[in-house]
Symmetry: C2
Subunit: 469 residues, 2 copies
């Protein structure tokens, strides 16, 4: 039985102290890969703490990928050998994304990553804009600092500290009109002669932007822990673009060990950089999020980036990057002449929205609403005839999850059959880019923008399709 | 004496008919280069029309570069041999632009191209934003069409028709967050393997953006009519970026003949394009502006671009390009995935501002205010001891003019001497990029943002500097 001296925890909360002890034992190999952990009840009795405390510690370890659970068997330490089988499927052409939310052709669209703007406190937002118009007046018309308005960069620095425990000086933050614009800026900063690695499968626009910037792009496969560090090391990439806090489309949260391996890759040669795309990190539903790679980076090799498109609205074009000191200097001397791409009024409004505490309240409300919505959808699937043909893969994070169907039909057939009945859905293999071409019956449910009234019918059609081929 | 049958003019206004007749005679060589035109009075008597009508026709011909005037000698047909001497000066390093309007170090800043935001009807603008917040509500949060909001593209198409006589369908308009962003988009569209030609001297940021996009850049010299078509033909450029309606810093308005020569260059090989940067065209003070190159282009080789930074505020990051049909198709298939970089609320607000007629009223008001300001400054210079040492070069257009000083000091000395006395000013040769290194005592007066209360002192210091070396 695991034995830790709980008295030594000092001011640390009990659950967090226990989590740290177990994590350290897994890292040191004291607890072996796939070794079973004591049950929550027995460990609680052994350490004279409550079951709930052990439960919280286990949840945190799960959320960071240190342990996994098997139904009715308990908890086990993770092993680096478990692969997350993602096999790209070249037979299904990538369906081009719609330009606008036309939505006419489908009664439900699981490809639509629009956020639920009903939850957004529009009256607060419009109040903040009115305040800016009234109080800042003509000041909002003046030429903007190229890296963005000081007040907004300070507000973001505060947000990063409170949400992500990051200590970032506002000078290191560069504001830009959307992540796609910032990817382009990073290519100019890091060099067009560099080779950029992206996740495979992954969010298609990332590779599309790199390609249209004219740089070489490598697709790196994932395993159960996210981007394979082994494949990355074997590649000739200089820059790697990853989303460790929640990968699209697999939903993988990259565990601490893998993060360290990728940092190690960056440190092992000069001019290697990691772009940490934290686009979705606000929507972690349980446990404390893992620290960002930026905050554990000691050599200035991580560029952190995030956006307000997912948290506020896709029509608000405000994103940002955080540059390490050396790159910041390079940026200021070679690219500092670029004018800021975000209008003054919206920069001031967002700063006020953050400083007024509205942003954090909004995130908490969204997190609750999305968790409820997601739980409801998963329950609806499990309780339906689809339930026994479906496995839900998710890590309590982000605005989408994966449904794996037991079926003889291939991915293309499923997509085609439900499409004619009004459902737009995509499969995991569509997001793969290498040649190995196969299919794995995994489909992506983007749930943030969908109408719950349509779910019952959608579940029925999916069940129907899987059961009567 | 020139003789035209005024009865043949049909519905055309008399002045415009006369202008067209004379223009045609100059183009055909009936009127020879440097030939003197009849005086306004004698031509009016001869044709039995009013002196004012002849005056208007002559003004239009002047503004398009067909004729020029010599004080007390009258009007003459232009000759292609008159060079506008612009000699780049490598000895003066390009002074980096300030990031923000710090303005502390100088009591007057002739390098500052900030617009006069006092003239901007901020209350109308903020009213329009309030209206959008109230009437559009949550609609403003929805995902935007990638090329920009339809309503704004329609409003811009209307504006182009009313201001510039251009017939452009809204589908051809792509909205983006500032011209620098759009230059980058054009490089992706036209190709990184192409060679881009820019004006020398010219607005430094244009070449800087092309260079940071990693494409090859050629500097093409100017003569009295703007970018030299001869030099362009001799170069290996594929794309040329010009501002024919008002060049920075020389202020040259490219005459019709030169525009046709450059169109001819584009037509003479496939994949040659002209980027017509019309950044400043709203501020033409007299005469009808020349038609845009886009509107006389018959082969789809002109990309028109313009911005609202100069007309509304530098903090409003909204610019646009108008693509010819073939490039539009290419754009949609290869770059159509790029998200729009301008936020929804500001796109709707600008559309309302244009549709409500506020934009046009604002431009008229600004044009008057700037003309008054410019005339006042020029008068102040002429009436001062500086007057006899200075020649003002301007073409009744744009937000800057050139002052040529009679002095034994070189440009660097002048700039340094006035700088210590609180004046920030730049010289024409600083904007040149080729090696020929010399100076020509021409200085640029950006007057739009300066404080008139400081002008008297600035004129005194300049006179002092020139007169007492």
């Amino acid at each position: 039985m695991l034995t830790y001296d709980m008295e030594k925890r000092g001011a640390t909360p009990i659950y967090f102290y226990l989590y740290k002890c177990i994590k350290s034992d897994i890292e040191k190999g004291v607890i072996k890969p796939n070794e079973k952990l004591p049950s929550k009840r027995s460990l609680a009795e052994h350490l004279k703490i409550s079951v709930m405390t052990v439960q919280n510690a286990y949840m945190q370890l799960m959320s960071e990928g240190y342990i996994y659970s098997k139904t009715k068997s308990g908890y086990f330490a993770h092993s680096l050998e478990i692969p997350f089988t993602v096999i790209p499927n070249k037979n299904i052409a990538a369906i081009p994304r719609k330009n606008t939310s036309e939505g006419d052709k489908y009664f439900i669209d699981f490809r639509d990553n629009n956020i639920n703007t009903d939850i957004f406190p529009f009256s607060v937002w419009s109040g903040v804009i009115r305040k800016v118009l009234g109080e800042y007046g003509g000041e909002t018309l003046k030429k903007l600092p190229n890296a963005g308005v000081k007040k907004l960069r300070e507000a973001i620095a505060g947000l990063l500290y409170r949400f992500r425990g990051m200590e970032v000086s506002p000078e290191r933050i560069i504001i830009g009109a959307g992540t796609e614009y910032l990817y382009g800026l990073l290519v100019k900063l890091l060099g067009k002669d560099k080779i950029y690695a992206v996740e495979d499968p992954g969010y298609g626009k990332i590779a599309a932007v790199y390609k249209s910037e004219g740089v070489e792009c490598r697709y790196i496969a994932l395993d159960g822990y996210g981007l394979s560090s082994g494949e990355l090391i074997k590649s000739d990439a200089d820059i790697v673009h990853i989303s460790p806090s929640h990968h699209f489309p697999t939903g993988i949260v990259m565990p601490a060990g893998r993060r360290r391996e990728i940092l190690g890759w960056a440190y092992s040669a000069p001019e290697r950089y990691i772009i940490e795309d934290d686009y979705d990190s606000e929507f972690r539903f349980t446990g404390k999020p893992l620290p960002t790679m930026e905050s554990i980076d000691t050599q200035g090799r991580v560029i952190y980036m995030n956006t307000f498109s997912k948290t506020i609205s896709p029509s608000l074009r405000i994103s940002y990057i955080v540059l390490p000191a050396e790159l910041l200097e390079r940026y200021n001397s070679s690219l500092g002449f670029y004018s800021c791409t975000v209008s003054g009024i919206e920069q001031y409004a967002l700063a006020e929205f953050i400083d007024g505490g509205y942003f954090e309240r909004h995130i908490n409300r969204m997190r609750k609403a999305y968790k409820t919505k997601r739980d409801l959808i998963i329950k609806q699937i499990k309780d339906s005839p689809l339930g026994e043909k479906a496995t839900i893969l998710e890590e309590d994070s982000g605005l989408h999850f994966i449904i794996k169907l037991k079926t003889d039909l291939n991915d293309r057939e499923i997509i085609g059959m439900v499409k004619v009945r009004g459902i737009n859905i995509s499969c995991l293999s569509q997001y793969g880019n290498r040649q190995e071409g196969m299919q794995n019956s995994m489909f992506i449910i983007n749930y943030s923008g969908i109408d719950m009234d349509c779910m019952a019918k959608a579940v029925e059609i999916l069940a129907d399709t899987v059961n009567h081929p």
